[in-house]
């Protein structure tokens, strides 16, 4: 058959072409793998990706032309740990919670920054005191936070106006908040079904810290060997939280909120808020990155409501240098630069939290941002730092176990399979059981 002969010729030509192209591509690619010019040190900065990182690198490289920075996307723990274990560490890495910092420091992974503070001009003394768990391990400086965010209430001004509710004022209480939320919860009828069209308030399922602390409760005892979730103070707070959703119905149910979120449990509050389906959400300033996108959204911030105890949650991340980093001097230069005014303002003007450096030259410039009309009130975030507190942890139990138990038992509470008090009791019992196991067998700890 002619056809097969022709096909064979074409196939041969195709194979030859493909092989040549692949070889050529390989030669081209391998010859161009080295990104940095010779004589220039290059440091690897391992942190979650974000459009502002490019600008940050540009700024740093313009100040330090002899150092180039590579932004590694994704600080996935799997990758970070594999590279650390394989002795190919990044030069600067982001660590996202105090317990991880403690674990890394305890195992001698992190460089002690204390001796380098003055030489590399690292403004540790200007950091907010509340950030201490992100910075120190046993008195040594191991981490440098770049930005942080106390939890505040974002509220939709338009919805407040429509409902005739006056805008909330800083220093308001949970009772006042509940009152507002009631007035901001609305229903509509669809095929004779009464469904909520708008809810007053949303608090993420994982942000239970505020509720635990509102009546002066604590999650762990001073020595960390006991979980105090079953204390009356905590139970009162959790009860209030449960009532918001189950009794007063001012908060979307877990599933209403969860099925709105495109990825994981996180982010549903932002979507609901952007869709004007929730009038108030509780989170940190990084949310403004998203809310800015929505040009027609009229919003402002107010302090987190308080109970007998005025306190709010503080979130941050710290940058650390692995001891094995091959470019220690350059990494230190970079970390020092992160707390400098220009970088601090670059990050905070992008909307990612507030500057960790509390120096007045920075906070003054940060407090008022004319570019974004909704963000004239940045001073509020700075004021809230007085009440901000980092999440607790016990040295005797991993936070992942805590949050897994919390998630399971609180979900049962939201599904009304157990009362808030019962949930608190079970959580305390389960956490204490693991603490006991860990104390008996220290192999589970480090």
């Amino acid at each position: 058959m002619d056809n097969t002969g022709l096909t064979r010729i074409f196939t041969t030509i195709g194979v030859i072409f493909g092989v040549t192209a692949t070889v050529a591509l390989g030669i081209f690619l391998t010859s161009t793998t080295s990104p940095t010019p010779k004589g220039k040190a290059s440091i690897r900065w391992c942190v979650d990706p974000n459009p502002i990182r490019k600008e940050q690198i540009k700024l740093f490289e313009s100040r330090h032309p002899d150092i180039s920075v590579i932004n590694d996307p994704g600080a996935e723990p799997q990758r970070l740990l594999t590279q650390l274990a394989g002795d190919v560490p990044p030069d600067v890495m982001a660590l996202y919670d105090p317990q991880t910092i403690r674990l890394f420091a305890k195992n001698g992974v992190l460089l002690d920054l204390t001796p380098y503070v003055s030489k590399y001009n690292i403004a540790v003394d200007k950091l907010y005191p509340a950030l201490e768990p992100y910075v120190y391990h046993e008195g040594r400086i191991v981490g440098i936070p770049e930005n942080c965010g106390p939890f505040v209430v974002f509220y939709n001004k338009k919805l407040f106006r429509e409902a005739g509710v006056p805008y909330p004022k800083p220093g308001w209480t949970w009772e006042e908040c509940l009152d507002c939320a009631r007035k901001l919860t609305k229903y509509k009828y669809e095929n004779s079904r009464r469904i909520p069209s708008q809810k007053g308030l949303f608090i993420n399922n994982t942000d239970w810290w505020l509720l635990i602390w509102m009546h002066n409760g604590r999650l762990f005892s001073e020595d960390g060997k006991r979980c105090l979730m079953d204390s009356p103070q905590v139970k009162k707070g959790i009860r209030f939280w449960a009532d918001l959703r189950l009794k007063h119905k001012v908060m979307p149910t877990a599933s209403e909120a969860q099925s709105m979120a495109p990825t994981g449990a996180w982010g549903s509050d932002a979507l609901l808020f952007r869709a004007s389906m929730v009038a108030m959400t509780l989170s940190g300033r990084w949310m403004s990155i998203q809310y800015r996108e929505q040009k027609d959204l009229d919003w402002d911030v107010v302090s987190a409501p308080h109970g007998p105890n005025r306190v709010t949650l503080l979130a941050s991340k710290a940058y650390a240098i692995p001891k094995a980093s091959p470019n220690r001097a350059e990494a230190l230069t970079f970390i020092g630069h992160l707390l400098q005014r220009d970088n601090q303002l670059l990050v905070s003007n992008y909307g990612d939290g507030i500057p960790a450096n509390s120096d007045s030259t920075i906070t003054k410039a940060f407090a008022y941002n004319p570019d974004y009309p909704n963000e004239k009130n940045n001073q509020l975030h700075l004021d809230e730092m007085k009440y901000a507190r980092v999440q607790e942890f016990s040295p005797y139990i991993n936070n992942l176990d805590v949050s897994a138990i919390m998630a399971v038992e609180l979900d049962k509470m939201w599904l009304q399979q157990q009362s808030p008090d019962a949930a608190c009791d079970v959580i305390a019992k389960r956490i204490n059981a693991i603490i006991r196991r860990n104390l008996a067998n220290p192999n589970f700890l480090d």
């Binding site: 591509l25 690619l29 690897r44 979650d48 996307p73």
Partner: protein, 291 residues
Amino acid sequence: MNRRTLAKAALYFILSVGAISMLAPFVWMALTSIKQPGEVFAAGGGIKWLPEHFFWRDTIVDCAKYRAWWGNYPDAWNEINIPRLYMSSIFVAAVGTFGQVLTSAMAAYAFARLRFPGRDKLFFAYLATMMVPGSVTMIPLFVILRKMHWINSYSGLIVPGLFSAYGTFMLRQFFMGLPAELEDAAKIDGSGYMGIWMRVILPLSKPALATLTTFTFMGFWGSYMWPLVITVTEPLRTLPIGLRYFVGQHATNYTQLMAGSMIAVVPVLLLFIFNQRYFVEGIKLSGMGGK
């Protein structure tokens, strides 16, 4: 209408209903890639299908509107250096696929058609390694590669993926199903094992080889964790790592992510469509001298 036509019509109907549901995510992906950031989700909750600016409503002559529905592509392109990522991905996937299919086809022939001591035990050892989750073997593998100085190199990206138990197992199953008569005929003709493998086994298993090629290519193309772990510098990165830049800790850039994903889908789809022709051929026993 006879029964055959009726059956055909029914088949078309069923396939079409399924096809609509299968198309939905792809259509949403394509439509989202030409939306503006604020339009991904609907105002009343839920997702949104159509972008506000569409080329048949707003003429593309208007430059600003043109940007409005097409701009995510150049933006994504510039944001993550797509040409370089693309070339890296193509190279890794092409070499990796060729190598894996080759070594798998060789090993599968030995396992399926040749007799040697300890064959089944060895094969079961192959199978067993697949039962150990990759999370716990990654660190040892990484350390081995560091000893070989293969971290941050194309070798490190490609070579560990060349020797797959999956491919070997799959091809073994197909090879075992091939009629033995052809092999015997070739033996009588004086062919060696290499000749049988090249001239009998491989041509007969085109559908299986095309399948494995597609799967392997997709595996290399979509692989995320291993390239992320093994690469250190930018030029070596592959597309999935590039797309990761659009998923931030506090905000995901859906429109550009979908534009990037659309660009990334093209080679896989092309390969799949190309390999389809091997699925319609089947075995032509008569052409090989008969059964």
